[in-house]
């Protein structure tokens, strides 16, 4: 800890010298630019220093829990992380929230290692990526710090690293895919042609939702094409418009979008093509905007991916620290929404996101 501070101050003073030097010989523009960056990085290191000092302050004997989080990403994430923070506060923990930016895993790993060095009582990990955690988890296992993964599961190869993870808490993505497939089987008992809008290629969410879908979809349902629209509404509209043109002769009966954003984009493309009401569109996540679209008949069905499981997470951590047994996989229940159910959910006013 102190070593770190000394190192940072050293860095700072050397950077300050550099800045002065640069200013003395600031003949050309690029030198000014370098000076600006140097002074900015000095500022950043000062800020980092400040927060490090703050963290070592007293906590009144409360158990300290580090939360390696994702940060601002969208409605789901905000609801999820706010809920976890409130739940831990209510349960009497000292929760240290450390969000990353732009889904940067490197920053998450740094935050994780810092929590291990600070010897917190437990770590909650909401990872942006499922691989690359082996080394950090091994350190946590050596320091005997229990790790609880939330939302996205982590893919660990190393046996020693695996020991660190006590439990995974979150809704099931495979279940989401299964619900979409079952709804389609029911809607089109005689089979139909469909399109799939995938999320960003390679993410575990995408793989899991697809696996669930493939398990349950009937063989008479024909997937004309499956393309990625990168979770984006705008891109989903373009992709759907293109695919509707491409498969005009076959006719598209349904579209399964792997998240709500893409489902909303698909709905707009279907509307522009004059096919409103003729194509069954399914979304996933249960966001307010999508539920409104289901209630208005633009989407046919929406599957929730429940973000509210702060209480369950806090309970699991408490149980483990009290020496009780904790399930290795705690699955959080989610709901599905048809038109009436969506309207009812909106009317209740309980949706947070």
């Amino acid at each position: 800890m102190t070593k770190e501070v000394i190192k940072q101050t050293e860095e700072r003073s050397s950077e300050r010298k550099e800045t002065q030097l640069e200013e003395e010989c600031s003949m050309k523009n690029w030198k000014k630019a370098i000076a600006l960056i140097a002074s900015m990085s000095a500022l950043v290191s000062m800020a980092a220093c400040g927060s490090a000092n703050g963290a070592s302050g007293g906590n009144g004997g409360k158990k300290v829990v580090g939360f390696v989080a994702v940060g601002a990403e969208g409605g789901f994430r905000t609801a999820n992380e706010n809920d976890i923070q409130t739940a831990f506060k209510d349960a009497g923990f000292d929760l240290r929230y450390s969000p990353t930016t732009q889904s940067d895993q490197q920053k998450q790993i740094q935050a994780f290692n810092k929590f291990v060095n600070d010897e917190v009582d437990a770590i909650i990990l909401s990872s942006t990526e499922d691989s690359g955690w082996d080394d950090s988890l091994k350190k946590a296992a050596e320091a005997e710090i229990p790790v609880f993964t939330v939302d996205r599961d982590v893919d660990v190869q190393d046996a020693a690293a695996k020991k660190a993870i006590v439990s995974h808490i979150g809704p099931s993505n495979e279940w989401c895919g299964q619900q979409a497939a079952e709804f389609l089987n029911k809607q089109f008992p005689d089979g139909g042609n469909g399109l799939i809008l995938e999320g960003i290629a390679g993410l575990s969410v995408v793989k899991d939702r697809q696996t669930g879908f493939d398990e349950k979809i009937a063989s008479n349902q024909k997937v004309l094409e499956s393309q990625s629209a990168n979770w984006s509404t705008d891109e989903a509209k373009t992709v759907t418009a293109g695919l509707l043109d491409k498969y005009k002769s076959q006719g598209v009966n349904w579209i399964w979008a792997q998240n709500d954003e893409m489902a909303l984009g698909a709905a707009q493309a279907v509307d522009a093509a004059g096919l409103k009401g003729k194509v069954t569109i399914i979304g996933n996540d249960g966001t307010k905007a999508a539920l409104q679209a289901v209630a208005d008949g633009e989407l046919a069905f929406d599957i929730e991916y429940n973000p509210i499981f702060g209480k369950e997470t806090a309970q699991a951590v408490q149980d483990y620290l009290d020496g009780k047994d904790v399930e290795p996989n705690i699955e959080i229940e989610s709901k599905t929404f048809t038109k009436e159910e969506a309207q009812a959910a909106l009317d209740s006013g309980e949706r947070q996101y």
Partner: protein
């Protein structure tokens, strides 16, 4: 191989061989050839071979078909490519266009949901784009900072600003009453053609007239070649630099409105993502030198349409999502290679070498 033949045929059709060479050397030719090939590919691989088909859509009151959606998407590329062309011809670069798109889009959607009049919301979000462009311009021209660094900082800051505006949410304004004019700008039709494409084309033409019918274009180019020399001839390089970044910011804001109004929803982390790269590619395809001093707005506009067409081809051909960046890169690199003067001089160069060899042989004998 096939491309070279097509170019040759077009050339000899006009007149002498000299003309064919000139045509091959022209950047516009290769953009057109690329467009034709991509359209041909799409027509062949489209299951119903109806890629070029157009029909009247009663629902939207305009033409519809694959080409029309392509033109609709190209509008945003046209805007940022035009701004980027002016900036690049002063030997600068504007990496912030994608982020400025997100900021202006976020502002428009947020203002609409807060109940503001749609025209006021449009005006304010355009002004925000202009302001961000002016900040870039001031830092580059007055403080003399490197354009790369300045706009890189703005690129990072812009995403943050967009997130602050919407408090991290993806604001949805699709259900806001009275937002129809903005929706119409991005999705509507005039004379059967997409409004946003016509509007973008009009703006490109206006900027073109401003540059070529006045001395503006020449001043921009002279600043790109040598700011000091142009200052001595009475041009004010600082003013010109400030202006090009301001214009780029404003046009990026227009692009941001097109992108968000298309679905009436902003995605703070995805709107405009990577589009600065597309803009630079469009400019390069259009034949503007990254070293500055020479620009072609028509070339960049064509480049922007080529970019939109590549994206359309990816969807129509159903290229695997993992392979799309590679396909994109492949098409761009092929166009750039075909445009390279060295390639055009290859024939002459080989002739010269052969002659030299023969000469050497003769001397040896």
């Amino acid at each position: 191989m096939a491309t070279a033949k097509r170019g040759n045929n077009a050339g000899t059709g006009i007149a002498a061989r000299f003309d064919a060479r000139k045509l091959l050397g022209n950047n516009l030719t290769w953009s057109v050839v690329a467009l034709v090939i991509l359209i041909a590919l799409c027509t062949i691989f489209d299951p119903s071979h109806e890629f070029l088909s157009l029909h009247w859509n009663k629902n939207t009151g305009g033409l519809s078909g694959p080409l029309i959606t392509m033109l609709q998407e190209s509008a945003r590329y046209l805007m940022i490519a035009t701004g980027m062309t002016l900036v690049i011809s002063t030997a600068g670069i504007d990496l912030s266009v994608g982020s400025v798109m997100a900021v202006s889009g976020a502002a428009a959607m947020q203002l609409l949901t807060s109940g503001m009049n749609v025209w006021a919301a449009i005006l304010i979000s355009l002004l925000i784009g202009l302001l961000l462009g002016c900040i870039n311009g001031a830092l580059v021209s007055i403080l003399g900072l490197q354009p790369f660094i300045t706009t890189l900082i703005m690129m990072l800051a812009g995403r943050g600003i967009a997130k602050v505006i919407t408090s991290g949410e993806n604001t949805d304004a699709s259900r806001v009453a009275g937002s129809e004019p903005l929706r119409w700008l991005a999705n509507g039709f005039v004379f059967g053609l997409p409004v946003n494409f016509l509007l973008a084309l009009l703006i490109v033409i206006l900027v073109g007239l401003l540059c070529r019918k006045t001395a503006m274009g020449m001043m921009i180019e002279s600043v790109g070649i040598n700011p000091e020399a142009s200052r001595m001839t009475g041009i004010k390089p600082k003013k010109i630099l400030f202006m090009v970044y301001a214009i780029s910011g404003l046009l990026a804001a227009v692009a941001g409105l097109f992108a968000t109004a298309s679905v009436m929803r902003v995605d703070v982390s995805k709107t405009g993502q990577d589009l600065e790269m597309y803009a630079i590619l469009a400019v390069v395809i259009g034949g503007t030198s990254l070293l500055g001093g020479k620009f072609s707005l028509a070339g960049s506009a064509l480049g922007a349409i080529v970019i939109a067409m590549i994206r359309k081809t990816i969807i129509t051909l159903g290229i695997d999502s993992a392979a799309t960046p590679a396909f994109f890169a492949l098409v761009v690199i092929v166009i750039c290679v075909m445009q390279a003067p060295k390639i055009h001089n290859l024939g002459a160069e080989m002739k010269r070498r052969r002659a030299l060899k023969a000469q050497a042989k003769a001397v040896a004998a």
